[in-house]
Symmetry: D2
Subunit: 140 residues, 4 copies
């Protein structure tokens, strides 16, 4: 079974992302996920900006994150993202956040495609095709 394509981005922790525990405040991992998600779409040739300009929205319907080890100010982090489900209307993104070889966090977000009328709608076929290589096959 082939591994899926993954989008990998780097980012550096900003001071304002820390809290008084001296570590990255946990909500910021969801911002990092979002940055990675944007880049996966760009790799597919569909900037999320252009998707919204065409009247579609990808809305987050569920998010989850497990915080394994703390990230700290000025750390260079790597965020990996790929898909675990590419449905007609729904997309599930998976994420891992690493510092070097250490996995700091794992999570997912579930998104739904909605039309300008704010009702669920099919993901444009052209976009779905481009995203297929990023889908992880379920292990059997």
């Amino acid at each position: 079974m082939d591994s899926p394509l993954k989008t990998i981005i780097s980012l550096r922790v900003r001071y304002g992302e820390t809290d008084q525990m001296g570590i990255v405040h946990h909500v910021n991992y969801l911002h990092y996920f979002e940055v990675a998600r944007t880049e996966l779409l760009r790799e597919c040739g569909f900037s999320y900006k252009s998707i919204e300009e065409k009247g579609y929205l990808l809305v987050v319907t569920e998010s989850q994150c497990r915080y394994l080890k703390p990230a700290r100010y000025d750390d260079e982090l790597r965020v990996e993202t790929w898909l675990s489900l590419l449905g007609n209307v729904r997309i599930h993104f998976q994420y891992r956040i690493l510092r070097g070889e250490e996995v700091l966090a794992k999570g997912y977000t579930k998104l739904g495609c909605i039309s300008p009328e704010r009702v669920p709608t099919a993901i444009p076929e052209e976009l779905r095709e481009k995203m297929k290589p990023y889908v992880e096959e379920p292990s059997s």
Copy 2:
């Protein structure tokens, strides 16, 4: 079976919490959860501030949120929180966010108690006692 005690707080959505979809950006729900969690501890007579001053930390090890309906700028929201697990070291908080009678989001956070040496440690017994009425009995 009795219902657990719940902490209920009100808050008003800030402008800076919206995004260009015209709704509350999804990460902010986790901030709202945190505000509610702080108040549950205060109701137990243990401000989280005083817990940290005694050298304990409650660190978030997992968060999840399901976004059912969007919250908007200036909405008055109600955040309810209670516990689904009160272990030796671990506490699981449950949350619901409502606008009037509409449930907008549901989620949980798992926290672990750690000592000043940054190793897992038992939740102080006095605090555990006060939190017990907030624990939801598993349905049988």
Copy 3:
């Protein structure tokens, strides 16, 4: 000379608003200013939400803040706001942030009224009238 009316709000510092210095990260004061500004408008009978719904925007064109003493997690803060200028198109809000009698920060924001076409436009007369008592007379 009479003092202007002031809008006074209370808020409690959220954990996620601190940084690793153990104090409120400085950018959050601007969020507090915004919360206070929203309430001044509400006191005038014009929720900012309704202003946007009528097609007007009040956009921030300049912000300034002087940080005198640090605010900390769980502090109950008081934010005062009033106006130093109420022009045809421009409004200048002044702010003070206090903890008890201690002044922690002072600042201002300058805002401009713009129309749905995104050009500068006069502040609706009805709103201007209501805001006049909040204007601080220049000292002579």
Copy 4:
């Protein structure tokens, strides 16, 4: 008169940094300033992280920003920073934010150096030396 050295960074606007006006929420410019400031220090060979590890803090005592044109989601921005004052205890950073050749915002932050005892202290001489080329000469 020579121009000062400037630190120039690039960053891309995150979705969560927008607000319901469809533009970058104004407080985020201060986060961008902070990212640029961190890089200026790194160029001087003193990561801000290492400065804090040695027990010094650089605390923001004043911030100002003028918002000239809106930045939008996914924009690639350039942030320039240099110094307008390098005192014994105080440093004033200047900033410009650009998209291509358009200047979107200008601002400054004033910082003071404080010791682990949280009292004002002289900026370490070695760091001051490295920062001197970044100081803009006052025009005469």
